[in-house]
């Protein structure tokens, strides 16, 4: 049941106005006797952690039929106990500015910029990954130092650098380190230094 703002407010309005209002209403019935269903009462609660600073506040994303309806603090998290700072509280907007309205600034397509071009052009994701793999191989093969002048195996690839990131998950960081080290990359860094 996709609730847009009007219907929603009508719902809250109904619960707010309580009994039918007559010209000379005598006594307003208690408003909140029955639980008014609203946007997140029947939504699935998905626990997650805030992606901004490193306090690690718990968050709950309310999802119904795959649609993100609300994002709030997780009261069970002993660190944040349901609170979120402004950055955490706004994190739903990474995906949706409002329910059903995707954030227009989000980039949802792979893009490619030719040397010297003044604008992006769209590119197929798989094709982009193939081209990237070729460039990584080409750069590695070109600048690879297998052994140093004393004959010691050093397996160093100084043509390729990797930056990033303190904003990605542990599992992703591990894969970055594992792959980059196996490519012989020594220029490997992330935010922690800046």
């Amino acid at each position: 049941m996709q609730v847009n703002r009007r219907e929603f407010l009508k719902l809250s309005g109904v619960s707010a106005a309580g009994a039918a209002v007559v010209l000379f209403a005598d006594e307003r019935k208690a408003l909140a006797q029955d639980l008014k269903e609203h946007r997140i009462t029947k939504a699935k609660e998905v626990p997650t952690v805030c992606p901004h600073c490193s306090v690690g506040c718990g968050m709950i994303a309310y999802v119904k039929e795959g649609e993100l309806l609300q994002l709030e603090g997780n009261p069970d998290s002993p660190i944040s106990e349901g609170s979120l700072c402004p950055k955490g509280a706004a994190s739903m907007q990474f995906a949706y500015d409002a329910v059903g309205k995707a954030n227009p600034l989000r980039q949802l397509k792979a893009k490619y910029r030719k040397p010297g071009a003044t604008a992006w052009e769209e590119i197929d994701l798989e094709k982009a990954l193939d081209m990237i793999a070729e460039r990584v191989k080409e750069t590695r093969d070109k600048s690879f130092v297998a052994t140093n002048k004393d004959g010691l195996t050093v397996n160093r690839n100084e043509g390729l650098a990797h930056l990033g990131s303190a904003c990605i998950d542990n599992e992703e960081c591990y894969l970055v380190t594992k792959l980059m080290r196996s490519l012989g990359v020594v220029y490997l860094e992330h935010h922690a230094r800046i």
């Binding site: 707010a16 309580g18 019935k29 909140a32 006797q33 709030e72 009261p75 069970d76 349901g82 402004p86």
Partner: protein, 294 residues
């Protein structure tokens, strides 16, 4: 009252609409992080309005139809010159004698349950009589909305839909320092006065509670570090004299006089019917055929 997120969230008694619910902001622990501003917009699905003024941390110059709560930043020095950076969470105070409810012609704004001043945006016709009537400048009509029918008033609803579902208001549950408390108004007042004593003991002589008596008792209470005027809050505010005169003075008098005039005309009609039989006045000449032709 404090952090009730982990314990079962406090809930107003559904059977007793007269129970007074309130929010209390302990401004001495507010760090001005604006999480409440964001959480309020997030829950109510309001649109973002980028209109920060120059030279301040404050996000908006004032509340507006989409911005229902706002942290006011006041940079000053206290009496002995020590830096002070006061932060006050400003939004609708849910007054017991509300200017907006007094001015609203269509009963869109009225005293809802638990002392909450509820606004039903369906019923609002966007006339904005409520805007100047509010002593706290807390309600505004959305003038920027394109279609006239979308121009509605907007204000804090004390998250009425949430509290009636045993949830905390969005700003209360998100506040990082738990300085926005929510619960039974009486108990919050007790806590507030105890906190003021504690602050006075710590050396904050001007600490005071705001909202206990103002306008018949607000449902947005404050523990302030300094006097209300330092925060720009009106000291024992009253509804604008002109507003009350317009509604309770002028209107009944006007109706009375109009009624009397109409009544007078009816009397005149009976009398005049006899005096001017056949529609002829006493001073009228006899029927003289003033012929055109001669």
């Amino acid at each position: 009252m404090g952090r009730t997120a982990t314990l079962a969230a406090w809930r107003p008694d559904p059977g007793n609409p007269k129970q007074q619910v309130a929010m209390l902001v302990d401004t001495t622990e507010c760090i001005g992080c604006k999480a409440c501003e964001v959480a309020c917009k997030q829950w109510n699905q309001n649109e973002y309005r980028i209109n920060q003024e120059l030279g301040t941390y404050q996000s908006h110059p004032s509340l507006d139809a989409q911005t229902w709560t706002l942290i006011k930043f006041i940079e000053r020095e206290d009496e002995d010159g020590v830096n002070q950076w006061l932060m006050q969470k400003h939004n609708c105070m849910h007054c017991s004698e509300a200017g907006c409810v007094t001015a609203c012609p269509t009963d869109a704004l009225h005293y809802g349950d638990y002392g909450v001043v509820t606004l039903d945006q369906e019923k609002c016709i966007g006339c904005a009589y409520c805007e100047p009537a509010c002593p706290f400048d807390a309600i505004h009509v959305d003038k920027s909305a394109f279609r006239q029918t979308a121009q509605k008033a907007g204000k804090c609803t004390l998250c009425f839909d949430r509290i009636s579902n045993a949830m905390q208001p969005a700003c209360v549950s998100t506040c990082p320092t738990d300085c926005i408390k929510y619960g039974d108004r009486g108990e919050l007042l007790k806590w507030a006065y105890a906190r003021v004593e504690q602050l006075k003991a710590m050396g904050y002589a001007n600490a005071n509670v705001y909202g206990d008596k103002e306008l018949g008792g607000l449902h947005e209470l404050y523990v302030l570090l300094e006097k209300p005027e330092v925060y720009g809050l009106p000291v024992n505010p009253t509804l604008s004299k002109r507003l009350t005169f317009w509604k309770y003075g002028l209107q009944p008098v006007g109706k009375a006089i109009l009624g009397a005039a109409l009544f007078g005309m009816v009397i005149n009609w009976f009398a005049a019917r006899r005096t001017f039989k056949g529609g002829h006045g006493p001073g009228e000449e006899a029927e003289a055929p003033a012929s055109l032709h001669d």
